[in-house]
């Protein structure tokens, strides 16, 4: 038979595995394996033959067949390794301080890395519980904004879903997703809750785990699906299947029953829901192209079918653009669901969340930074304490240790240290760092010990940090000349000092960067808390109304309260709801943020007039606008009152200009905006001004009044000065993390520095003793020790300050429209902290110096 037929040839390279086999039986074994293969190829075919071929080779790995190592060599290796282990343990116990610094420092940073690993894991595995993530596609609209800049939009026309499903055979399922809000009532619990209107197939496409019921629930138009959170709110821990629940939205009341309940969403859920309601319940009389839904999803195994839409594209977009919408859609495309969380695409108002890529990079960056801080500690301490082990090295070399063996010894000792640190770090992560991060984030940091990736990560961390931190010291230590060491002339070379100074400098620079960013963030959030909001936000109690009639009933009672200073009503409210009015400009139209209010609103809010007047005296004028300063600047309006403005729905007179105020959080800058009077009295909000001290009294009164008047409506009263609390909470996350980092890195660096200084002091004990005898003061001595460290610190600061300032102010500029100036004050404060830490660390060593009697140190020789 021919053996050169590649298809049937055995995988000959596998025979190389047999190199472990005793040479005296190798030949016959190989021959038997090959011959048996040929026989089986004929009788059983190539697949079985190859499988058995591999089995035969593996089956040879048994004790009788393996090569024997020379016995003496084996025992030697074992002894050598156990000697290394013993030396490592002795080194740890004899240098308690430096070993503690090394192991503890490493384990703290490894603990942080573990938590960051969990965090990165959540981001990378986002939405992976949706099994069909690779066959679900979201429609993405390509649109342009008012500046004619193209942008991608998560919204799509209402009729797109049904049309595509009808036109394309390959689309197996589709679902629209519309966010809404409804007053939800179950038994006695009445709450205003976000709801999501979806099509029947939603739960079949998105495999959310269900606690009760099944994915068919949505096919019944009488049933809704609750999230775990919503189910707990309305029904506690009971099984709510079949229970009645009523939804009131857009003035219509519908009774549903609970069809299914989802499990608690996993940590990595970047797409979820609160209450799923059948799409028909949206109550639109007719579905049309001009309505938008928040998202449209398609399920298809064949993405080409969706891309082949090209022919139909124009029909769809033209149907939508026919009514001349603010954001016309030029083109539609489809993005795979699992790419929504990972891809580069930025989709405006997408319903699928996405972590900012900088968060991911930041997490990895800080993890690596902390680890390198502790590695530098290790390298520095190892280099500085090498003189202690010089004798050992010399002895080993002279009895025949090769340089390779010495390197291996030091590296293996270091890796043992790192493994110790990893286990300590695991404990620290579980009991200290993870609970700490839990309190910062809305997600739970659960360390999943069954996750093999975690163990691979830990193993890799131990080995990589062990190698990185140990390699240079090992190379350096093993390079000494044995005779010179034993003669006593080899010294800790002065040229090497530069390197450890360099490392120390880097460490100082990193520490400064982290301290500085921590302090900048803290003072920034302080700064933003104290920003003038542009109106008098304290003492304002706001009552959101679900029904316009509620206003009059409530107004009658509230206006008689003695502590109430002013009451106003509005359709929109600053910080909550607004609309846009299209202002006609030279180059088209410009949608301007507008609030529809009543005539008392602006006075009640405590806004400050700059020019003209408020609506007060002209409460019947529906054609009047009060604008803010930015508006006045942008559109260069003339006399106030007396300027007129064309809009899409008629001409307005500008009767007043109000001082710029923060109508949104401090991420956003203040743009042109306007107030107008409500067309009809449609009251969504009641604004009540009172004394700051009276707010909670008023709240209690309102609550009992509300329960009497409107038992079926939710009571959602809030204080205006708390309306940016969510913003501050979000801002506090990076701030808290940075502070934690800053504290940890200060601890790490000062521990490293302490170890270094104590070694330096120990080496200089004799010099210090002589100086003491000759009458040196403690100030002189501290100068002697501190001089070199302070110099390094200075150089590090000179390099780090401009770099850190650029980085931090760049970041704050990027995220916040209003932030604290990153200037001299913050820099000098951070420098002060770092310098104080360094000097304190060094001085704490000097206490020992000042206490020792010089005779003690000098008597030794």
């Amino acid at each position: 038979m021919k053996h050169n037929q590649t298809k049937d040839a055995p995988p000959l390279w596998m025979l190389r595995l047999l190199k472990f086999i005793r040479p005296d039986i190798l030949e016959r074994v190989e021959g038997d394996i090959l011959e048996t293969y040929d026989r089986r190829l004929k009788s059983h075919g190539p697949f079985t033959a190859k499988r058995l071929f591999i089995r035969d080779i593996v089956s040879m790995m048994r004790p009788f067949a393996l090569k024997r190592q020379p016995t003496s060599y084996r025992i030697n290796t074992f002894d050598m390794l156990s000697n290394y282990l013993k030396l490592t343990l002795r080194n740890i116990t004899s240098n308690v301080l430096t070993s503690f610094i090394n192991i503890f420092g490493l384990s703290v940073s490894i603990a942080c890395c573990i938590v960051l690993f969990v965090f990165v894991n959540i981001i990378l595995s986002a939405n992976d519980f949706i099994e069909k993530g690779d066959s679900i596609y979201m429609a993405v609209s390509h649109s342009v904004d008012k500046n004619r800049d193209a942008f991608l939009w998560g919204r799509s026309p209402e009729l797109l879903g049904p049309s595509v499903a009808e036109d394309m055979g390959a689309v197996e399922n589709f679902s629209r997703y519309v966010k809404g809000s409804a007053i939800v009532r179950a038994d006695d619990v009445v709450l205003e809750e976000p709801v999501q209107y979806v099509d029947q197939g939603f739960l079949e496409m998105f495999s959310f785990d269900l606690a009760y019921g099944n994915a068919q629930a949505l096919y019944n138009a009488q049933q809704v699906v609750l999230s775990d959170n919503a189910a707990k709110k309305f029904f506690g821990n009971d099984n709510p299947i079949g229970r009645e629940i009523s939804l009131k939205a857009n003035g219509r009341l519908t009774i549903f029953e609970v069809g299914a309940v989802a499990q608690k969403f996993p940590n990595n859920a970047y797409f979820d829901f609160n209450i799923l309601v059948p799409y028909e319940a949206l109550g639109r009389t007719e579905e049309s192209w001009s309505n938008l839904v928040h998202a449209t999803f398609f399920e298809t195994a064949d993405p080409d079918a969706l891309n082949a839409l090209n022919g139909k594209q124009n029909e769809y977009t033209q149907a939508y653009n026919a009514k001349d919408p603010v954001y016309p859609i030029n083109r539609l495309s489809f993005t795979r669901f699992d790419k929504l969380t990972t891809g580069e695409q930025y989709i405006k108002s997408s319903v699928v969340g996405k972590e900012n890529p900088t968060t991911l990079i930041g997490a990895i960056f800080f993890g690596v930074l902390l680890l390198s801080l502790s590695c530098i500690n290790y390298v520095n301490i190892a280099l500085a304490s090498v003189s202690k082990r010089l004798k050992e090295i010399g002895l080993r070399k002279s009895i025949g240790a090769t340089r390779k063996q010495l390197i291996f010894q030091f590296l293996s000792q270091n890796i043992i240290l790192c493994f110790l640190a990893v286990f300590l770090g695991l404990g620290l992560a579980q009991f200290i760092i993870a609970p700490l991060f839990d309190s910062f984030f809305p997600v739970d940091f659960v360390i999943d010990y069954g996750d093999s990736v975690l163990w691979i990560f830990l193993l890799a961390t131990a080995v990589v940090t062990g190698l990185l931190s140990g390699l240079y010291p090992a190379l350096y230590v093993s390079s000494f000349n044995a005779t010179l060491i034993l003669k006593g002339t080899e010294r800790f070379g002065s040229s090497r000092n530069y390197l450890f100074k360099f490392f120390l400098g880097i460490q100082f620079a990193f520490t400064f960067l982290i301290i500085f960013s921590g302090i900048s963030f803290v003072s920034n959030s302080e700064f933003q808390r104290n920003i003038d909001w542009g109106y008098n936000e304290s003492g304002l109690v706001v009552v959101p109304l679900s029904d316009s009639n509620q206003y009059n009933a409530l107004y009658d009672r509230v206006s008689r309260y003695p502590e109430v200073q002013a009451v106003a009503g509005s359709q929109h409210h600053v910080g909550r709801r607004s609309t846009t009015v299209d202002i006609v400009t030279l180059d088209g139209k410009d949608p301007i943020l507008t609030y529809a209010i009543d005539s008392a609103y602006m006075n009640a809010m405590g806004m400050r007039i700059v020019k003209g007047e408020f609506f007060g005296d002209v409460s019947n004028r529906r054609d009047a606008l009060v604008v803010n300063e930015s508006f006045a600047k942008k559109f260069l309006i003339g006399e106030v009152p007396g300027s007129y403005l064309k809009t899409a729905d008629g001409e307005y007179e500008i009767i007043g200009v109000v001082e710029d105020f923060h109508y949104r959080d401090f991420y956003a800058s203040i743009e042109a905006m306007a107030f107008k009077l409500m067309e009809q009295p449609t009251f969504n909000y009641m604004v009540i001004r009172t004394d700051v001290g009276q707010m909670s009294v008023l709240n209690d009164k309102l609550k009992s009044e509300w329960a009497q008047l409107f038992p079926d409506a939710p009571y959602n009263v809030f204080y205006q000065d708390e309306s940016f609390d969510e913003f501050f909470r979000q801002m506090s996350i990076p701030t808290n993390i940075l502070i934690t980092y800053a504290i940890i890195s200060i601890i790490l660096s000062s521990m490293g520095l302490f170890g270094l200084v104590s070694i330096v002091v120990e080496r200089k004990m004799k010099e210090i003793g002589i100086r003491k005898v000759l009458g040196a003061s403690i100030v002189n001595l501290s100068m002697l020790v501190q001089k070199q460290f302070v110099l390094i610190l200075l150089i590090a600061l000179i390099i780090a300050i401009p770099f850190s300032q650029q980085l931090v102010s760049g970041y704050l500029d990027d995220v916040n429209a209003f932030h604290v100036p990153v200037g001299v004050k913050l820099i000098s404060f951070s420098v002060l902290i770092l310098v104080c830490t360094v000097l304190l660390t060094i001085s704490s060593n000097l206490i020992k110096v000042s206490k020792t009697n010089p005779t003690e140190t000098l008597r030794q020789d």
Binding site: M1, H3, I25, E27, R28, V29, E30, G31, D32, I33, L34, E35, T36, D38, R39, L52, R55, D56, I57, V58, S59, M60, M61, R62, F64, A65
Partner: protein
Amino acid sequence: MKGTHLGEFEELVLLIVGVLNENAYGAAIIAEIETQTDRAPSVGAVHSALNRLEQKGFINTRPGEITESRRGRRKIYYDLTVAGRAALTKTRNLRNSLFDLIPKLSTS
């Protein structure tokens, strides 16, 4: 030197070596075991048994020829020694005498 006891698989291999007479070498033994029994032993298992049999002195080796199928590897033939024949006889006798001691097994 190990004892002279024969394990089950060792006995099988030893018997096959006897069956193949002059032509017993690794691959042939495996092929013969496959045809005579339902088992498909691995090369490792067979060579492990052969190694033990050789140590116990039941078989001798003898270099053979080179074939194309073996890609130039020389065959090693195995022959039963006198001790090997004796061991086989001994196990057979032991088995037969024990078999006869079982009451009512033959015919009833």
